[in-house]
Symmetry: C2
Subunit: 322 residues, 2 copies
């Protein structure tokens, strides 16, 4: 086939769960000498101001994971990081519910300084990732701030991290609002990457809290629909349960749907054409295919780096246009 | 004697050297149940922006010293602090010549956030010192920024910390400029403390780089002259050498004077009435007395905490009005 200018593998990605697939894709493309064809669109709706510093948890989780720095147990933060900065914050009477490691602080301090200097979050993220030796693109979904708020039965509307970290995602979610989303526009590097995409993969991240804010950025859905590339989603729900985090609970309380890969398929219908289903959910394959999806049934639960790379291989094999 | 409303012991203070006497005074007054009568006016001419954070080295040195947190070897920073934040800064390609420990970062992050919120440096410093359990007042010389620049023979004019830390104070100083000093005014708490002072002590800090910026703040000298309290200086030059730092070299290159306690006495003549001379400089006592000073000859070289407290005791005994 003649080269048509399309060479990008684009993935839409939240935090820990999404970072696993992003790492799989990165390892996979690196082996093929194509790491710089990977463009990861990261969710910034979870960003927060902590001690006056701009923290981008999802971007950092992806960045640390791909750089081999991340804490393998918790999936976020830096491996073997210490908590000395927070120690003194405690003495100063500051609330230290959001756990930031010492090395991690360097990222937030640097990002905050550059933002103050007028550098865009896109450029800042590029600087950080290049410094850490990454040769793929990590692209914040937008350069204007978006803040996800969660409406809960228990305590009303609270910012996402308050719901997720401080209160341990135990509240019943009945509404979600992406504050600032009206001002958020697709960035030039994202528009270019999608335009040049061979394949777009929605990682197994929370549809409501990680993927939806990305999709609601002005121009994002349109770009995905117009690029004529296959768009594929990896179900974050396996056996009726979320692989990680509160996606299943939210599906029930917010969407009024029994959590299942079927619910995920309904959620993305119209935008997405390919569906990656876990082997344990094989029974749903026919029904999802009947909805118009091209279905790949494979092992989607990723523990080791080999699992991550293997899932990425399977997805590329099945969906990458030949 | 009837109480005349004057109960404050005020000290003007730079970094490491000054902090030693400040600690001596603090211990001394604490024993007498009078710690809250101590008001320390700290130099902020050495403040700098590091990674977008506002660092106040002299204030922090005094604060950590009095809180028992400081590194006893280097005299600044926090004891047993680690350098993990800087580790990642290095990976990001940042210049890490100014050594900031991890716990230390918490101070700078918090100060920067509060400044951004519009809180004054005076209020911020009060918050920090109270959190660390100090019951004396540490007062920044002004709430508006002053930045000391040093004119060197070797590389022209450079900011103080560049001269002092980055280049190790090895250049020949031929000029000093306190940038922003015209806008800097005495704060209300400093004016009140000086007005209520029983005694004002200029710590054995660098006259040019630590004390002069304090004195040049608008209203400072006038307040000292009008308060009618004894003003005493502890010579930072002993045996023709500076106890710490480049004061002796600067005295020679900038003031054209052979470094000695005599030079210090000339420097402060007109403002200061009491002079604390080290026993090793006993031979100069008569000449300094002839200049109009009330001279106290005592051990001024402070190694242990007991040395510091003893010097403070001697000064209070000699100069505190009865």
């Amino acid at each position: 086939m003649e080269y048509n200018g399309k060479n990008k593998i684009v993935t839409l990605c939240g935090g820990v769960g999404g970072a696993k697939l992003a790492l799989g894709l990165y390892r996979c493309l690196k082996e093929r000498g194509r790491a710089n064809d990977l463009a990861i669109i990261g969710n910034t709706g979870d960003d927060l101001d902590m001690f006056g510093l701009h923290v981008s948890p999802d971007l950092d989780t992806v960045m640390y994971t791909l750089a081999g720095l991340s804490n393998p147990q918790q999936g976020w933060g830096i491996a073997d990081d210490t908590y000395r900065v927070l120690d003194l914050f405690k003495r100063y009477g500051e609330d230290t519910w959001f756990l930031l490691g010492d090395q991690d602080f360097a990222t937030h301090i640097l990002r905050t300084r550059m933002l103050k200097e007028g550098v865009s979050l896109t450029e800042i993220t590029a600087t950080l990732t290049v410094s850490l030796g990454l040769d793929c693109a990590l692209l914040p979904m937008s350069d204007s701030p978006v803040c996800t708020y969660v409406e809960t039965l228990e305590v009303g509307e609270i910012p996402f991290q308050e719901y997720f970290v401080r209160r341990g995602a135990t509240d019943t979610v009945v509404g979600i609002r992406y504050d600032g989303i009206e001002q958020a526009e697709i960035t030039a590097p994202i528009a270019a990457a999608i335009w040049q995409s061979e394949l777009v993969i929605i990682a197994p991240s929370n549809p409501y809290l990680s993927i939806e804010p990305i999709l609601q950025v002005k121009g994002m859905e349109q770009a995905l629909l117009q690029c004529n590339s296959p768009v594929v989603v990896v179900s974050p729900i396996v056996g009726g349960k979320a692989l990680k985090g509160p996606a299943a609970d939210i599906m029930r309380s917010f969407d009024g749907v029994e959590p299942s890969a079927l619910g995920v398929a309904k959620y993305y219908q119209g935008l997405v054409g390919g569906f990656v289903l876990d082997v344990s959910d094989d029974a749903l394959a026919e029904e999802i295919a009947a909805m118009g999806y091209q279905v790949l049934v494979t092992q989607t639960v990723m523990q080791t780096n080999e699992d991550k790379q293997l899932l990425a291989e399977h997805i590329l094999e099945e969906f990458l246009p030949r």
